[in-house]
Symmetry: C2
C-alpha cells in the first residue's frame, strides 16, 4: 500500500467517525456539534523548533442548536459525504467541481466558491489531513521535473528524463505517485521556466547529478509536497534559485517555511532544510549583474520581510539590508550578460561549493 | 531532416543573405538599408479566404544614413548575429536572455525588453520566419497533452500516455519535435486544467479516440503551433472546449483565426478548421447550467466580438446575441451540477455527434 492509499484510509476513517458521531447525536436527540480548530491569525504561531507556522490550540464550537449555524453544519456534512464517495470510488474532483456539484445537494448550494472552500478547510483542520487526501485537488498542475527520477502513477512507470524537454509534470495528485528510484543527489528548484530550460539545455541535471524543478513562479501545493517528499524519502538537499528581489526571496521562503495561511498543514509541505542559493543582493554586487531599480512596492515588501519571523536569520537579515542599501534587484536570467552557459558553468558550481563544501570540477 | 532543421536552415540562409548585403553596402561605401514590413494596424487585414489576419504590402525603409536609425540598425545586426550563432550551435535562448546578453554587445544594451522584442519581430517579418526558427523561444511552456501520440525529441521517444497524468508538456521548441505516430482520431483542446484532469480521469481520451490538450487559459504560441501541426500532419479535426463567456470564446478564436498582433506569422499558427464546441449560450439554456451574471466587462467584450471580422459567421453572431440577451455566462466545470462524469458521458457525445454526424455509442 503506497502512501496515498494509507492517507486516504486515514481520511476515510476520520470521515466515518465524524458521520457516526452526527448520527449518534441525532438518534439521541442531541444537536450535532463540530469542534473546528481556529485558523484566525491569533491562533497561528511560528514554531521555532520546526521552523514553520503551526496552529495553536484554540478552536470554535459549531452547534446545530444555533439557527445561524445549521446551514453550515449541513453543508459540512454534505462535503464530508462527497469526500467519502470520492475516496471510495478512487476519484478526484477540483474545488470548483465540488462547488458546482453542491447545486444538487440537500443542504442547498453555496453562494460562492469561497464558502465551499472554507468548509473544506474546516474538515482539513478538524482531521489534520490534506484536502488531497480527501479527494479534492487544486486546479493547477505542479512544477516541471527533469532528471534521473523514476515514478509510478497507477500502472504507468515514468522516467523524468524521458518525458520530454518540458519534463515530468507534477500532478495535483502527487501523493498518489510512488517515487520509485532516484539517481540524482540534489534538487535545484528554479523560479522561471526560462532558466529551467537553460538548465535542461546545458545538461546541468547531468553535470550536477540534480533534479531540475521548474517552479513557474510561486510553488503550487503539489510542488511543495513533491519537494518535501524527495527530501524526506531520498534524503536529498534542496536548493532554491529565484530572482533577486523580495518576490523571489519569498518564493524560496514559502517552500522552506510554509505560509501562515496553511499553518494547519505545513507539517506536510514545508522543507525547513531547503537552502536559498540566490540570486542574493551579494550576488548582484559580486557578479556585477544588470539590475533594475527597486520599486516602492519592492521596498515595502523587503521591510515586511525584515520583521517576518521566517527571515529571522543572519543570512536573510544581511541580504535584505544589503538589497535595501543597494536599491537594486536582479533577475536570474541576468547572468546571460556573460553568455548563456555562464550561469551553469560558473555561478552554480560556486554556489554549490559554498553549500556543500566540495569542488564541482571538470565542469567548464 | 525533420521540419525544424529545414526551418532553421531557411532562417540561417536569410540571416546570411542579410549579413552579406550589409557587408556589400559597407564595402561599397553605401549606408545599409533595411526593408521592414509594417506591422501597424493600417497594414493588418483579415483574409477572408484563409480565414485569419495577414499583413498587407506596406513596409518601412530604415537607413543607416539617418542618424536616428543608426543604433536600431546596429542592434538589428547584432540580433541577427546572435540568432545565427544560436542556430549554428543548435541552442535556444529566451527573449529575456537575449535582452541581457545584449549588455555585452557593441551596439550597446537595450533600454528595456520591449526594444529587443521589437527588433526580433522586425527580423521575423523581414524573413517570414518564426522567432523559434531563429533560436528564440518564449518563456512559457505550451499545453499538456494526453492520449495516443508518440513524439521524438532529439533521441528521446515520448509516449503521451506514459508521461504521467500531467501529460506530455509541449515545449517552447515544438517545431524541433518530430510527431512520429498518432492513433487518436481527433483533438479536444480544453481551457482549464480542472476539466483536462476530468477528461484524463474519466478516460475520455480512450473512449473518444482523442488527444486531450489542457490549454491553461489562452493558448501559448507552442500550443497553437502544435494544434496546427497535428491538424495538418495527421488530418485530425480539432475541437475547442472553453468557458461560456467572451474570454472562453476568444481562447477558441485565437486558435482558429490567430491574432492581429501576430498577423505576420498566422499562416504558421492558425487552425481555421478548428471548431468551437462550447460552452455556448445555447448550452447554458439547453443544459440549464449554473451561471454567473455578465459583468460590464463581459458585455463590452461581447459587443467588441460582434464587430470582429473573425466572428462574422451565423454561429458566432447567434451565440453572442443569445448571451447578451441572457445576461449570463457559465464555466465548463458547471456541468458538475449533474455529477462529475456527466460532461464526458452526456455533453461530449452530444457535441461530437453534432460535429461529426455520428453516434458515440456504448459510452454510458
Amino acid at each position: 500500500m503506497v502512501g496515498e492509499k494509507k492517507r486516504q484510509k486515514k481520511a476515510e476513517k476520520s470521515l466515518m467517525t465524524f458521520g457516526a458521531e452526527v448520527i449518534k447525536d441525532i438518534s439521541e436527540v442531541r444537536p450535532p456539534r463540530l469542534k473546528v480548530p481556529s485558523r484566525s491569525t491569533s491562533n497561528i504561531f511560528y514554531d521555532e523548533k520546526n521552523r514553520y507556522f503551526v496552529l495553536g490550540n484554540k478552536y470554535g464550537i459549531r452547534s446545530a442548536a444555533n439557527i445561524k449555524q445549521v446551514k453550515k453544519i449541513a453543508q459540512t456534512i454534505c462535503v464530508a459525504d462527497f469526500c467519502k464517495e470520492l475516496i471510495e470510488t478512487n476519484k478526484f474532483a477540483t474545488l470548483r467541481e465540488m462547488y458546482y456539484t453542491a447545486e444538487g445537494w440537500d443542504s442547498g448550494p453555496f453562494s460562492d466558491q469561497g464558502e465551499s472552500d472554507v468548509v473544506l478547510e474546516d474538515l482539513e483542520a478538524m482531521f489534520g489531513v490534506k484536502r488531497e487526501d480527501l479527494g479534492l485537488v487544486p486546479e493547477e498542475d505542479g512544477a516541471a521535473v527533469y532528471g534521473e527520477l523514476v515514478v509510478k502513477e497507477d500502472n504507468a512507470v515514468i522516467d523524468a528524463t524521458k518525458a520530454g524537454r518540458g519534463g515530468y509534470t507534477i500532478p495535483p495528485t502527487i501523493d498518489d505517485v510512488e517515487l520509485l528510484k532516484c539517481k540524482a543527489k540534489r534538487v535545484i528548484a528554479i523560479e522561471t521556466m526560462g532558466m529551467y530550460h537553460r538548465f535542461v539545455q546545458e545538461r546541468a541535471w547531468k553535470t550536477f547529478d540534480a533534479l531540475v524543478v521548474g517552479l513557474k513562479g510561486q510553488a503550487a501545493r503539489a510542488t511543495r509536497r513533491f519537494l518535501k517528499r524527495v527530501h524526506d524519502e531520498f534524503g536529498m538537499p534542496v536548493y532554491l534559485f529565484a530572482d533577486g528581489d523580495p518576490f523571489g526571496f519569498h518564493i524560496g521562503m514559502v517552500i522552506i517555511s510554509g505560509s501562515a495561511k496553511l499553518a494547519y498543514i505545513n507539517h506536510e509541505l514545508a522543507v525547513p532544510d531547503a537552502k536559498y542559493i540566490g540570486v542574493t543582493a551579494s550576488d548582484i554586487i559580486n557578479y556585477k549583474l544588470p539590475t533594475d531599480k527597486l520599486r516602492e512596492l519592492d521596498i515595502a515588501r523587503l521591510k515586511q520581510l525584515q520583521k517576518d519571523p521566517r527571515y529571522n536569520t543572519e543570512f536573510w537579515q544581511g541580504e535584505i539590508k544589503r538589497m535595501l542599501e543597494l536599491g537594486k534587484k536582479a533577475e536570474q536570467q541576468a547572468f546571460a550578460k556573460y553568455g548563456l552557459p555562464y550561469v551553469v558553468k560558473e555561478y552554480l558550481p560556486a554556489k554549490l561549493k559554498e553549500a556543500e563544501g566540495k569542488e564541482f570540477i571538470g565542469l567548464k
